[in-house]
């Protein structure tokens, strides 16, 4: 497992689908299997986002499991835009002090902001650098908690956009290397998290198509928060006719509506693994996460 480059598991999806939660649970699961794992969070504004104590990093649900089982922690990487840009510039310019001086220039900030894809490319190369063989430092898997869907595609198309405007020079070299990585199915594994709600499913499908158009390997779509099944099919009619329990009817209807949406989704993209709804915000569905990790990693190994 430790030979060859590390793989990148790119977890994206619409806001509110539990994308970050899934990314973290997958990172925890992979760590517990003895893999060297880094979890990279790429939401630009995430740093200012308040989280409940216990919902971030080390402190979420998986913590319980980790303490009990003495599983080593995964590495957490939060991308700092300025630091990433400085590293990028140092790489392309070779000289660090020039890079720092450039960063302090307002003119440069304006150019960087205007040049299409440059900022996204900096972010993307900060991620891919973690997977580069010589800098791996024992990493096998890099789980990326990607930005919400609208911002994921620009990130993945950044190399192409940069190459269109700057086809030669050191920046173009960086862009080509990044493009090569994100289009390589052995190294880049995209995952889209959705929930079984109409708008989320529509958005997952359009993200799926956009990612394929961007040239990355076909993503797998995972349906989060699927309501559990209790009532056997032959008893449904009895429940609806007898109206014995308004709660059970509500429960049944929610699941039925979800299944309709999943069916329509699967008609388009094939089988989609699911994670169950947990009736406690801190609970991680560990069995389902383990099987999801098998599915996504198995797909490429």
């Amino acid at each position: 497992m430790r030979t060859g480059p590390a793989r990148i598991l790119f977890v994206s999806g619409k806001g509110g689908t539990g994308k970050s939660f899934v990314a973290e649970a997958l990172a925890t699961e992979a760590t517990s299997r003895g893999l060297g794992v880094a979890l990279v969070r790429v939401h630009a504004a995430e740093a200012t986002k308040a989280k409940t104590p216990g919902s971030h990093g080390r402190a979420t649900g998986p913590r319980v499991r980790r303490e009990a089982a003495q599983v080593p922690a995964f590495r957490e990487v939060t991308l700092d835009e300025r630091a990433a840009l400085e590293k990028f510039l140092t790489r392309v310019l070779v000289v660090g002090f020039v890079a720092r001086r450039l960063l302090d220039s307002r003119t440069f900030s304006a150019v960087a902001a205007a040049a299409p894809g440059l900022r996204d490319l900096v972010t993307l190369t900060a991620i891919t650098a973690l997977a580069a063989p010589r800098r791996r430092r024992g990493l096998d898997l890099i789980v990326v908690d990607a930005p919400a869907s609208g911002h994921s595609v620009p990130l993945l198309t950044a190399p192409q956009r940069v190459l269109e405007i700057a086809p030669v020079g050191p920046v173009a070299r960086e862009a080509r290397a990044a493009r090569e990585l994100v289009t390589d199915a052995r190294r880049f594994v995209p995952l889209i998290v959705t929930i079984a709600e109409e708008l989320a499913v529509t958005e997952a499908l359009s993200l799926y198509e956009d990612m394929i158009d961007a040239g990355v390997p076909a993503p797998r779509i995972v349906v989060n928060s699927l309501w559990p099944l209790h009532l056997a099919a032959e008893h449904v009619d009895w429940l609806l006719a007898s109206r014995a329990s308004s709660d059970a009817i509500l429960h049944h209807k929610r699941r039925r509506r979800q299944l309709e949406l999943i069916t329509s989704l699967e008609q388009r993209v094939g089988r989609c693994p699911a994670l169950p709804f947990t009736f406690n915000e801190e609970e991680v569905p560990t069995t389902a996460i383990a099987s999801l990790l098998d599915t996504v990693l198995g797909a490429t190994s």
């Binding site: 806001g15 509110g16 205007a114 700057a166 709600e197 209790h230």
Partner: protein, 380 residues
Amino acid sequence: MKQTHGEQPGRRSMTSVLQGKHLVVMVGEGGVGKTSAAAALAYGQACAGHDVAVLTIDPAPRLGDALGIRDIDAAPRSIALPRRAEATGSLVAMRLDSKRTFDRMVERYAPTREAAEALLRHPIYEAVSGSLGGSEHYMAFQRLSELVENAGQDLLVIDTPPAANAAELLAAPARLSGLFDTGALSILAEPARLLTRATGTLARASFGFVLAVVERVAGDSLKTGVGDFVRLFGDILSGLEDRTRAINALLRSRRTAFVMVVRPRSNDVVRAVAFQKALAAIGLRVDAIVVNRLTPPAMPSLPSRAQRLVDAPMQARAAITAMEREMDSLREMESKALCLLRAAMTDDDAPAVIALTSLDVDVATLEDISTLAAELFAKK
């Protein structure tokens, strides 16, 4: 700021929150039902006799159908109201087409038709004006100010793209003005001007240095491309800056209300409270927080209920008990979140907290919108 007297803070009704407001900005994370809430709020006010327009960003397909604006370029659409409301009120639904809004802005502020066309065709413009990098937020506000100028309505309700925090919501205008910051960009566009102006030697040296480095790392085409773009855009800068100032003032006006929508989950509530405080810190006041999609209370158990369960097939009985237990856990989770929110909103000028019980299905018809509106405006 003084609130309506005689009402407990946090317990004000939506009607009282909207008293005297001309503009309502809906904010919240993705997937919380913001668009449905915006539609319901607009519908409710229209039924109360106001002329209302609602601008949505990205409605779920069936909600889009219900409002008659499924397509991105759909024309504004009049929504039928109940007969008793039609005499006095009206409701128009619109969709934001952010690319089109950006184009219109260019056409409006460019000095000549040719300049506008050159800019609209520029590859960098393509990249900047698309939906990437948060320009959608900016365009929502831009479109809003167009509407405020032209509309005959007494209330505008505007949905915003999902944002989890103030930074994300307001970064777009800031980024655009940063990008068009005259100091930085005009230099790049017109190097000659710099030399004739009384600018410090340091600035001049810095500028030459930057251009040289840009050329070295990215080739000449980026340098010229950006310079070109900036020169074209420079012309519409002042119009854009005025507009941005106007929008900022409008958002801070006393006649503008911010309504936040949140899911009944503790983690979401914590983020929402932080969002509200961050908005307050930059002068944007959240007037109401709508907790959306609460699970309806269990029906009071009827005398016959136990009897009915006795009649149930054995396995069904166990299943139903499990389902009921899960619904109870869900309600417990939700009420914990609601308590957390109410506990954080006890100040005199805290936003009103309004809890909505979810419909059985996604909001998909005008009838659903009307049901939601009735609940939103229910007397406390």
